[in-house]
Symmetry: C2
Subunit: 347 residues, 2 copies
């Protein structure tokens, strides 16, 4: 697969060779048949800012939606250095050995700066990226976490329609991206590393509360004992957290991406968890709530984007008045919303 | 002061006696002269949902804004049971003895249920509520935290215009109301109680990170030693937190609302803090950023309120389609925003 496959460059700028955009039916049939090239190009359409691309992307998504939803969606988080890429490499290969097809997606809002996520870099998941049962896609870029997350969520649906039955959504483990991932997955896996100050890794930011499953990484060699101690400490810490709406208890495991120790147990835990919440009806409830949540998020993002794109200068003027204490925030907001309502409709 | 003074009932329903609404100039002159009855009634206008009241409230606020901003705004939080009311009672009386005029406001989003905040209840601050140098106002009710917070923030400006030089904004200490208070005060004081499981009181929810100053309450009698130990532990915990943008270090103190021990030291700490951030220019920067934040919040709230009030039924229909997987969140959002843009403008 060439390095530029599915990248914006090949599709939008066409500086090397202008590709002809397939039509809707070609895209949909291709994706449903598991065509990776068409899947990649459809995702690029989702990520594109060109209105014509967005329109086509929405049409593709609408046709693929009825074929989506059949995967296990796993969120994976942990601070930088915890070994997320190594974990996903080993874990992904294990899943493929079990006969599964996996898609690895990333949410990294900082990728707006670097134009492409370092975490999604295929060179960091070398053996996995060479397998046809794995589809690795770096984080979309975007000017807001909401936008980045929305694109990733839509990519999940396309990957599912293309036959991937396990979706791993990785976050960078800093900032607010965990909440975004949490709102699009079935199970949330927190990776911790022994001895890095547990309170700084998760408890403090409330991420531990979100975790359905916790794995202490790098439990190998002389680090094994420390990992086991961290496991015990984490089990104690988990007791203090409020119970999950799922009714499930947060399990804690150790694992090593290097030796493979504990990796199959983590997959077993995930399967047990998914079976249980399927049975109680919680999975269905959760996915429905997530869909509602994203509708609300999308409305909000779209309204605010449209508002700012149409009122750019007027907004800045009012903002200055508010900062100088010449106008109240609420009064200024009313004036701006009134102006906004007079602007053209959106596409 | 009769119990219904400034309440919606006396103003809106007029079931007991219909009061004639003073005009804009009367309100403004009265507030600037420190007239508590007119201040109360103006706040009631801010809280009212009647368009005519809102319009008058906005006009009053606009006229008062240039006279606001001269107070010290203190946010106070802590879990239920930490003794917030007792602390404010003792602390407030101490400030009055020092010659200050204090307004006590509350943000309690749950008051939408109880129609009036139990925390703002004057019977819980008995001696304070009888003093003319103190103005105590319970939490406004509202259907969203954003709405409740916005009203409280506007109330701050009116109280300042009326000559109150110290504003205490109390939160219920559960949920998200801390963030709202944080975005409207100059200094954020976290009250902790010894032995109640510190991690559950603050660290876990990231509230400790927001605190500029921490006080361990109920440091009296046989509890003194426990409070001192909690103080040491808290000092250690604070070391692990990221440093404040203010450049200031989080101080930790003990106090007793019962004996008054430590109360004057807390006020000294607040004064030191405020002087320091005035000198560095951080206070000015912070207030400007808060004003911007509230403009953004207000725009967002107003757009979404207007959107939902105009699209109620259509929104529910689309939501159902999204939940059933018949439509994507983004596509549905686009359709809804298109419909919304065609609706009438706002007042």
């Amino acid at each position: 697969m060439p390095a530029t496959e599915g990248s914006d460059e090949s599709l939008v700028r066409g500086s090397v060779k202008k590709k002809i955009l397939p039509d809707l039916e070609t895209f949909v049939q291709g994706i449903l048949a598991g065509d990776i090239v068409l899947l990649s190009r459809a995702i690029t359409l989702i990520e594109s800012t060109l209105p014509s691309h967005q329109e086509l992307a929405e049409a593709i998504l609408e046709k693929c939606l009825p074929h989506s939803g059949k995967s296990v969606r796993v969120g994976i988080t942990g601070i930088p250095g915890v070994g997320k890429s190594s974990f996903i490499e080993t874990f992904g290969n294990h899943l493929i050995d079990k006969g599964r097809k996996i898609a690895v997606l990333t949410i990294d809002p900082s990728s707006q700066l670097s134009k492409g996520s370092i975490l999604g870099d295929k060179t960091r998941m070398e053996t996995l990226s060479r397998k046809k049962e794995a589809f690795i896609r770096p984080s979309p870029s975007g000017d807001s976490l909401g936008g980045v997350a929305r694109k990733t969520r839509e990519t999940i649906f396309l990957c599912e329609a293309a036959g991937f039955d396990t979706i791993l959504v990785e976050t960078v483990g800093v900032g607010q991206s965990e909440t975004a991932v949490y709102s699009m997955v079935d199970i949330f896996l927190l990776l911790l590393i022994a001895g890095a100050g547990d309170e700084l890794q998760g408890i403090k930011r409330g991420i531990m509360e979100m975790a359905d499953l916790i794995a202490i990484t790098k439990a190998d060699g002389e680090n094994t004992m420390r990992a086991n101690r961290a496991k015990s400490e984490t089990i104690s810490a988990v007791h203090f957290l409020p119970s999950h709406e799922s009714g499930m208890k947060t399990e804690v495991r150790t694992c090593s991406a290097h030796t493979g120790e504990g990796i199959s147990e983590i997959w077993s835990e995930i399967q047990t968890f998914i079976s249980a919440i399927k049975e109680t009806g919680y999975l269905d409830k959760k996915r429905k709530e997530q869909a509602k949540h994203w509708l609300h998020e999308s409305v909000q993002a779209m309204l605010l984007d449209d508002f700012h794109s149409k009122l750019g200068e007027e907004f800045e003027k009012e903002e200055d008045r508010v900062v100088q204490g010449l106008s109240g925030s609420y009064q200024a907001a009313r004036k701006l919303v009134q102006s906004y309502k007079k602007t053209d409709t959106i596409r």
